[in-house]
């Protein structure tokens, strides 16, 4: 059932949503837009196509404390930190990010289940948002994502003066119920407008320059051939080994677990790791991937071959294009797909 709300009442909507749970949505901090907690004076930027970081933070935060060890005299007590039961809404998630959660689910919800992640998934409601003006860096279509009508618990579209609210799942419908005073039934004319908008969006999406990227050749059977490709050396030469691509990526899921000595005890936390880092998977004997080329290769092999091989052919990339936009030296997955994909098909 399509509902709608006049755009000038959007503040009331946020107020209402935030009254019963934490509301996260794109907020401007000195020109940079990231998902953040809504406050009445926050600068909300729903027009921003891409937040710098993705929405994965709310389910798989950059750092989280997992357990603490407290020292009293010579005794050590263990303190659990599992209190992720706060309900929250992430509002304005684009199609790519919405899809990325499926990819993370496959990692964190398979056995053994990551209880921290699971708790957050259960407590979080995704309000996704349709893209009307995609950018040249977008290539979600390559992974079968329809940015004009993204998945999510609720999907919204902002067209003209209206916000259209489409509750899709039980969770989404329940959320709609909690703000039903603000929403009215969309008319037939509205549905017409929506249809037209979706068509226009899809037309632009089809014209995107990266839309022609082909994933042919990234099959499991080509694993060794890809692994041994001489192109990795050439492609990785520019890589400076920073973690930008992995940290802005909505699907990167590697983490490290470290201990922090607080002086009163030990706080064990997990934090994002990046396969681009020289200390990634560093072990006592050293690093299993000694060169940046090996680390660079790992990232793309994982996204394009290892992951799909283990997950029914689903690639660990949603084509959000953040890495395309943010890489300091403009090396990215699009260039990798272009270089390696073509080399096989030729």
């Amino acid at each position: 059932m399509m509902l709608k709300l006049s755009k000038d009442k959007i503040g009331e909507l946020f107020q209402k949503l935030a009254s019963s749970r934490t509301l996260y949505l794109p907020i401007d901090n000195n020109g940079q837009v990231n998902f953040g907690q809504w406050t009445p004076d926050a600068v909300v930027r729903l027009d921003q196509l891409k937040t710098v970081k993705s929405a994965k933070d709310f389910f798989f935060p950059q750092t989280e404390n997992i357990v603490a060890f407290k020292r009293q005299g010579k005794d050590i007590s263990i303190i659990e930190n599992r209190d992720q039961n706060e309900p929250f809404v992430v509002f304005g998630v684009r199609g790519c990010d919405a899809r990325s959660l499926d990819i993370l689910d496959k990692v964190f919800l398979c056995d053994p289940v990551d209880s921290f992640y699971k708790a957050r998934r259960e407590n979080g409601v995704i309000v996704s948002m349709a893209c009307a003006e995609p950018e040249e860096t977008c290539f979600c279509g390559v992974f079968g994502i329809d940015a004009a009508e993204p998945q999510g618990d609720v999907t919204i579209r902002i067209i003209g003066d209206n916000l259209y609210w489409d509750g899709k799942t039980e969770k989404g419908k329940a959320l709609g119920e909690s703000v039903k005073d603000l929403l009215v039934q969309a008319t037939g004319q509205d549905l017409e407008i929506i249809k037209k908008q979706d068509e226009r969006s899809r037309e632009i999406l089809s014209m995107l320059p990266l839309g022609d990227l082909s994933l042919d050749g990234f099959e499991e059977s080509a694993l060794l051939e890809k692994f041994n490709s001489p192109l990795w050396k050439e492609l990785s030469q520019a890589c400076v080994g920073c973690g930008t691509c992995t940290y802005v990526c909505p699907t990167c899921q590697c983490y490290d677990i470290q201990d922090f000595d607080t002086g009163h005890g030990i706080q064990r936390f997990r934090c994002w790791d990046s396969c681009m880092y020289s200390d990634f998977t560093l072990m006592a004997h050293g690093n299993s991937r000694k060169s940046q080329m090996e680390r660079f290769r790992q990232r793309f092999m994982h996204k394009l071959i290892y992951y799909p091989a283990n997950n029914d052919g689903v690639y660990s990339c949603v084509g959000c294009g953040r890495c395309v936009a943010k890489c300091p030296i403009s090396m990215n997955i699009a260039k990798v797909i272009r270089a390696l994909g073509v080399s096989v098909s030729v």
Binding site: A68, I79, F260, T262, G263, H264, G265, Q267
Partner: protein
């Protein structure tokens, strides 16, 4: 007496890095002359002021220090001839940077104290402790993970 957020009397924590040859000896002299200075001042002995790494200073603030003071030989009188000259440049720049980041500049200090200046050491510590008491708890460079109640 300033009151901290927890409602108790504010007892500032002051870390003093003292070079072994002059300032630490000056602190000893303050002791053997029975010159009082606040119990809040805790001295860490380093061979020379040039051994004081900015990491140590930030570490102290991270762990809840409210003020950090570095004492060394008077310029020109370094046991190692030039260590304090390097330390002087390093601290001038580092403390200027902390000020630039909005850390109250009263929280850092450099003082040259010779082995004969027990009284100067005690006076310096008294003054510094007063300054820090007036500034109150250091929040801006504190690491919340190190606050005891957080764990």
């Amino acid at each position: 007496m300033p009151i901290n957020e927890k409602g108790g009397a504010f007892n500032p924590l002051i870390v003093a890095f003292c070079c072994n040859w002059r300032s630490y000896a000056g602190a000893d002299l303050a002791g053997s002359s029975r010159l009082n200075y606040p119990v809040n001042v805790k001295v860490i002995r380093v061979p020379c002021s040039c051994r004081v790494n900015p990491l140590f200073i930030l570490r102290a603030f991270q762990r809840g220090a409210d003020g950090v003071i570095m004492c060394g030989c008077h310029p020109g009188d370094c046991h190692y001839t030039s260590g304090n000259y390097f330390a002087r440049r390093r601290t001038a720049l580092l403390f200027s940077m902390l000020d630039f980041l909005g850390i109250e500049k009263g929280r850092t200090r450099v003082e040259w104290v010779s082995a004969a200046e027990g009284a100067k050491f005690a006076n310096t510590m008294n003054q510094f402790a007063e300054t820090i008491s007036a500034l109150g708890e250091c929040k801006r460079l504190e690491d919340i993970r190190c606050v005891e109640s957080e764990i």
